[in-house]
Amino acid sequence: MKNIDSKSHVTGKSIYLDDIPTMQGCLFAVVLGSPVAHGTIQSIDYSKALSMPGIVRILTHQDIPGENQIGGIFPDEELLAAEEVHFQGQPIAVILAKEEHLAFEARKEIILKIKEHPIVVDAREAQAKDHLIMPPRTFRKGKLSSAWEECAHIIEGRAQSNGQEHLYLETQGAYAMPLENGNIKIASSTQGPTAVQRMAAKVLNIGMHHLEVDVRRLGGGFGGKEDQATPWAIMAALGVQITQQPVKLVLNRIDDMRMTGKRHPYDSDFKIGLSKDLKIIAYEATFYQNAGAAADLSPAILGRSLFHATNSYDIPNVQVTAYSCKTNLPPNTAFRGFGGPQGMFVIESAIAKAAKALKISTYQIQQANLLQTGDVFPYGQKAEDVLLAQMWTELEQEYKLRAIEKQIQHFNKKNQHFKKGFSVMPITFGISFTKTPMNQARALVHIYSDGSIGVSTGAVEMGQGVNTKMLQIAADTFSIQRSKIKLESTNTTRVANTSPSAASATADLNGKALLQACHALLDRLLQNAAQHFNANPKDVFIKNEVVYLQDQATDLTWAKLVDQAFLDRVCLTENGHYATPIIHYDMKTEQGTPFAYHVYGLALTEVTIDCIRGTYEIDSVKIIHDFGKTMNPTIDYGQIEGGLVQGIGWMTMEEIRYNEQGRLLSNTLSTYKIPDIYSVPKEIKIIATKTEGHELAILKSKAVGEPPLMYGIGAYFAIDNAIKAFNPKANFQADAPYTTEKVLMNLYKR
């Protein structure tokens, strides 16, 4: 089934935040950000700006009736800076004007006096100075101290991965409208409507029930709108509270890029020990996460880096410590993979470096240590239904891993200007929010008396196709035409206390809640039909909108049944609630079962580099993926392709650059490059490995949002592999992204 929005997308009729018709009297908001990365505000002169035409009001921290606080995990982030600023672009004031360009002009006339303080932009430096978001966390397994003695080879090194700009095509934005009695409706481009509602209520000093947050769809999120859509929505709502006029705030691209956080850069040390037969006996790593100036979601992201520190390998002795380091950069935040990719990059670097030292193919070490069913992760969860061995066989049989290795060696012998390289990237990704209480969802289903249906869930549609999956669930459960069902916007007055659409778990959680609601309604309808038939409800079912009694079609259609049930005063509305069973986690012992299940996969990446110019192309990525039993191959394959390419972008061309003053240099699309149509792999092949799926996955169809991003890590090691073929003196370097600059410098490293 195609994405239910695709027709309105291709005709330009889909409505995004900025397309909502504005009401009369609407004001436009522009945010004043700090020009320095750390300092004390001494004075701000708004007088000239306020005197300019069309300027209605400038909001500052003094206008906030409630708490000036938006920190979700720790209360360490002000909505509008009061006395101190901690990063360039940190919001200080909000200019409200009758036209947007007038607000931009007024912004230039605000005179700021800020006493500058020294800044830290480097994570290791922050850690050394004890600038930490929270105490470090350590995951342990086995006995590391004695394990080193058993190792035949010990390799140490450093791995760095840079941040990544989300670059959702639709920038951040919100549009707030006054309702009666101090109530406010906020349309927000957010992955977390409840987060917006909860935080706005605090800042505005009103109950959550006064705020209605509505989300139709997002023009891309990727984690960037999980927590960081919130401030803009609150600013708009605050503007409404104060002016009683509608307020629209849509960031332009440059403001969006400089004011919002990104994927966390990680700088890490690793030490890996192997036996003679390539078994990894010991692994030690320290992660320095660059959190930026406030916690945001960094603590949770740090956790996932630890959960995925050993990726797809069974290692008996492990110790991994992670520091969340506070720096004077915009607070970094969720991004597809949520710290998992950063953790995996380190162990893959360690393995690649070890392979280079031992003069063997990296995949030999990978293969020798693949996780198996029954193995225990460092966090105490037992690995279930592990498919990696089966996938490895497929990699050799379907994709001819060894033949490809030979072909590449042959090519490299014959060619001088071009060299090829390859890599294998296994993934094991845990599904569930690692904070157990977040693993709950609700769905509200109305069957209208004409038989049509409205479905509301807590899921936010941002291109991942979750609404399509929801529609499928409802239509298939009732066995009615899909056109009879409408997916409503995500709205806090219909579905309350939602978790953000994140952690790849949206379809699982909301789908299961929806399934419950639909089953409850179906049971009532079948009961009603049975009463009229004077039959046992077990003998009644619906197929293609016809009610069957003991496998015989009756005259009763879906529409008639609904009408009849309504007249019989049967409740045609149901609220489903789902909470993931089995999961639990104890942060004190760092042990538990945090994940409902894991998703497994392998990717084989081949690249060609141009050794004259240092440029490269990704020839192919061949994937074997664990979809479970996919409920929608079209959507799920799209997630694999899109996630993979996003991961490749992170590993290759996407380079975030700040200068020493903490100013973002890569602040536009001309200086920050994401993959275009010419730079994607020439070929992407995807094989769905044979599996029964998992009970905790919606209809046994496993979560698919984040895992494929990590296949992109393979591009980094394939490029490194090709460089080695040209220049044996090339450094092994784990310093992503592998930009054309780094490639050329390493090709000619002497």
Binding site: V10, T11, G12, L665, I677, E741
Partner: protein
């Protein structure tokens, strides 16, 4: 008053000619299918088509509406996604749906409009050209493979296209609404009303100017070189090639006489921005912008081109290499405009090289071009340029001088590199470190000769000499 057609509707507006089409479409006309992504021509979310009558035929090009001033539109037709919608989905729309070439959907209208340009082209269907038509469109969700599949289906559906009657054929096959048939007639009515008179700052395509000075330009009345047909020509005569300053990069690509001079032109110019930007950006604009890494500037410096600067009745012709006095400092008065670019033919061998973080639609880290003649294996008339290695687009005088009279060999090239390294002064910035830019220019310099003499000059010879 600026008059143009927007989809199937006549527009008369008194907005400043420098104000932007994107804002006009969304704010004045409330057509919300055209999206705001970056406002600098780097994402394609705001792509629209501009159609104009050329020799009685409608010619459509895709442009970024965020960089298109409405003053550029007089007498033309603008097509937005709404202007392509019919009762049923067009084949472009249909295949995007069928192949799931849309996820979040925000970039989708831009892709649909861009690919429709390929349909409207009077050229026969060609998959590479179809992809090129959307090469300036960025999608963050799909990874493009589904978009490639949709493009292939669309291109296949065009295989029977009657290129003599493109528009009629497309209307008959439900690619575009029927009103397209009447557009030439409507534009002829408008054309009789188009008047041009000098009113303000003279602007080429504005593709960089609007990124740099957006806020002030949108309020002004400006003058646009595209409105002066006299500035848009490509002529070859008397051992010279003459190009009007208002010619776009696409004009070069579509000129038979020009392409005949450069067998690798498509390959070279594919490295220069996207189809969408090439449609709008002019040679004169690129030269006057004086970016140290202007691709077309490097290209023409290596042809030892001259430019004619004109102010009212006065004209003078200087070498392009003498045009640049310092960073953004030009030998040009405020009133002068570049009316003509001239270079001598034949110019012997030519090559253009460029490397950036992303191969396509990106600003170069370093670029370089060269032309020379080789007589009995001896270099003569060498012209070598490079960008990204100093404050101005650089003509490498010393290296040219060194090469002239030398025999072509790996050794000569190695030694010339030493000379070249001494005459450049790159700085570290977001496009690369000093060390990188030096190494990269060396490699691109090598690349010129490896490309032109693959049998004789090989990488191992050059590198082993090093």
């Amino acid at each position: 008053m600026i008059e143009f057609r927007l989809n199937n509707k006549k527009i008369s507006t008194s907005k400043p000619s420098g104000s932007l089409l994107l804002d006009f479409i969304r704010q004045e006309e409330r057509l919300m299918g055209t999206k705001i992504g970056c406002r600098e021509g780097d994402c394609g979310a705001c792509t629209v088509l501009i159609g104009e009558l050329k020799d009685g035929q409608m010619k459509y090009q895709q442009v970024p509406s965020c960089l298109t001033p409405i003053g550029n539109l007089s007498g033309k037709q603008v097509v937005t996604i709404e202007g392509l919608n019919m009762e049923k989905l067009s084949p472009v729309q249909h295949h995007f749906v069928e192949e799931s070439g849309t996820q979040c959907g925000f970039c989708t209208p831009g892709f649909v409009v861009g690919l429709t340009q390929h349909c409207l082209s009077e050229q026969p269907a060609n998959y590479d050209k179809a992809i090129a038509s959307i090469s300036g469109n960025i999608c963050r969700c799909t990874g493009y493979k589904s978009i490639e599949r949709a493009t292939k289906k669309v291109n296949d559906a065009l295989s029977e296209k009657d290129t003599n009657k493109t528009i009629e054929w497309l209307v008959d096959h439900d690619f575009i609404p029927a009103y397209f048939n009447d557009v030439p007639k409507e534009l002829k009515i408008l054309a009789s009303q188009v008047k041009t008179k000098r009113v303000g700052l003279f602007v080429g395509g504005g593709t960089d100017l609007y990124v740099q000075r957006h806020e002030s330009l949108v309020k002004q009345n400006l003058d646009f070189s595209v409105n002066y047909p006299a500035l848009r020509f490509i002529k070859i005569a008397d051992s010279q090639c003459k190009i009007g300053g208002g010619s776009t990069v696409t004009d070069l690509l579509e000129s038979k006489p020009f392409t005949s001079l450069f067998p690798q032109l498509v390959k070279h110019l594919k490295l220069v921005s996207s189809a969408m930007i090439r449609n709008v950006s002019t040679l004169a604009g690129n030269f006057v912008n004086a970016s140290p890494i202007g691709d077309m500037t490097a290209f023409f410096l290596a042809l030892d081109a001259k430019i004619t600067l004109t102010e009212e009745a006065k004209s003078r012709t200087i070498y392009l290499k003498d045009f640049y006095k310092g960073y953004k400092d030009l030998d040009k008065t405020a009133g002068e405009i570049i009316t003509e670019v001239i270079f001598n033919i034949p110019f012997g061998k030519f090559n253009f090289e460029k490397v950036s973080k992303r191969t396509h639609l990106d600003i170069a880290s370093v670029n370089s071009a060269v032309s020379f003649e080789l007589i009995d294996n001896i270099f003569t008339k060498v012209h070598l340029s490079a960008g990204g290695i100093g404050p101005i687009p650089t003509y490498l005088h010393n290296t040219c001088k060194y090469l002239n009279g030398k025999a072509l060999s790996a050794k000569t090239i190695m030694s010339a590199n030493e000379v070249m390294q001494a005459e450049i002064s790159p700085i570290s910035d977001v496009r690369g470190s000093v060390e990188y830019k030096r190494l990269l220019l060396r490699q691109l310099f090598f690349g010129h000769f490896i490309e032109l003499f693959p049998e004789m000059i090989t990488l191992d010879k050059l590198v082993s000499t090093y």
